[in-house]
Symmetry: C2
Subunit: 307 residues, 2 copies
């Protein structure tokens, strides 16, 4: 099959960009890949790993000659990056981004967009708790959703071409309204991360329970929380700074619900707890049936029992 | 090596008991295994799987002739079970239990204990989100901690013999004060479970975010929460009813900490968030170094990338 793009430029070379580069090469989806990262250390690592054909020293440089430019930086700096690269974007090129929030990114990018450039926001709902250029792998997007939040008036051909790239990297594609995207992701990802960060912080603060004990006896539960809470701090700071409204709404509901369970514990209302715990089981079944996790039990180190 | 016990009786035949039975057989640690579960359906399943040499119809029956009896029921019924089996326990036998809380269990069991029986409370800190007699496997305890909270005055020989059983099932052994146990486990396990249950409940309630979407786009974060929240409702109800004090203390601290982060989001204090998120990363490193989880990234279905 023919390449989807001639030259793809990746800006910000962490988990998502490096995984894209590996997948683009594996499935032969572009003539060449150019990469730029702000940190010289990251650029050096990428040169060593070699998943880009060219690693550039500046952002304007990397977008020259690219028919697809993908912003893979934390969402908080995307507006600034567009200011920087805008004059060098090729006419007719597609500018995309892979941020975890959509409304704030669209508001930041659209006013800075040069005419003649197609802007297509996307969100590959895939990741691990790892970050940085060494953490990527070609299979990250396989069977995962890549959500598109296309804007009215965008060239359907440009959107379809980008869909084709993601499809050929193994992703499932769906379209979503940007505002709805931010609410759904607040529930499924942003607030769960904040809660995990909070709980791990509580454990860290507790002088009565030394770290050594917390770490040593971290059963399932806390162990899963620490995995979530090990994610990239800059990325997550920017997520919360840029999805404030939906995050705060869901946090409010969470606190209400937690108060109900807390009161049930204090009052010894076992029936309420049992009813609540039974209800949550069915959502888990739905996720396994939807293919977004394995039904295999997780008991820590060896992840996945083979029979 | 010689058997550790002649006959081990297991009461309550779920994940822990079935895993113990598989491990006891695998490592040849007892002459025979007898089992009892309150539900006739469970007893029938256990007969089919065959991990007990004998499945009894009553609790008093199963303890006859056993030199080790292990209570593997939800913690809330352990007192009642001891009332039932007390008169039939063999003099010199050891009674143990594997509950997730210790203070309440000790308070319930000790006054009902016939003289001449050694009571040794334990807590194997191991599990999966699965439950029931079909969920057990011999490797569940390998490299996991089994916490002993022995009471003053208990025969050291009886305690050492039980330690030997757990060691030979692959567990690491540590002693802990019962009150401290309940506080450490509130942090590492009980409150994280309650929070996961709460978050999954919030998602379920939200009419604006249909279940289908939540399920379909469940990225890491929510996906881990649903796994935790799929655990056995009866077991967890009993944990919270019986570790009220420590759970409520930790929940209080959690709510305080969450309010701080919530206020930082509302006020746009990215620095506070970044500092907090950076701190939690180091705990994760500690857990990996302590061997309680794999350092491999978790990206859902295929759990563990073999590269």
């Amino acid at each position: 099959m023919a390449h989807v793009y001639d030259r793809i430029a990746l800006i910000g070379l962490g988990l998502i960009a490096s995984s894209m580069a590996h997948a683009i090469r594996k499935f032969d989806l572009a003539g060449s890949i150019a990469g730029y990262a702000r940190s010289s250390e990251t650029r050096e690592t990428v040169r060593e790993i070699g998943f880009c054909d060219e690693v550039c020293e500046t952002a304007p440089e990397v977008v020259r000659g690219a028919d697809l430019v993908v912003l893979c930086t934390p969402v908080g700096v995307m507006g600034d990056v567009v200011d920087e690269i805008g004059p060098c974007l090729e006419p007719g090129a597609t500018l995309s981004e892979v941020g975890s929030v959509k409304m704030a990114v669209i508001e930041a990018v659209v006013p800075r967009l040069p005419s003649g450039v197609h802007f297509v926001p996307t969100h590959p709902v895939a990741g691990t708790e790892m970050s940085g250029p060494s953490s990527g792998f070609a299979e990250l997007f396989e069977g995962r959703w890549c959500l598109f939040t296309p804007l009215p008036g965008t060239s359907p051909e440009a959107v379809e071409r980008l869909r084709s790239l993601w499809r050929r990297m193994g992703a499932l594609i769906d379209d979503m309204d940007p505002e709805r995207h931010d609410m759904v992701l607040a529930v499924t990802s942003h607030v769960p991360h904040l809660i995990a960060y909070t709980m791990v912080g509580v454990a860290d603060d507790l002088r009565r329970v030394s770290n050594a004990e917390v770490v040593q006896y971290s059963a399932a539960g806390f162990r899963d929380f620490t995995r979530i809470a090990a994610s990239d701090p800059t990325m997550w700071r920017d997520v919360f700074m840029n999805n404030q409204k939906a995050t705060l709404e869901i946090l409010g509901r969470f606190s209400e619900e937690l108060s109900v369970l807390q009161r049930a514990i204090r009052g010894g209302d076992g029936e309420l707890l049992h009813e609540h715990f039974s209800r949550t089981r069915s959502i888990r079944r739905g996720i396994i049936e939807a293919g977004q996790d394995t039904g295999l039990p997780d008991f820590g180190r060896s992840h996945g029992i083979e029979d």
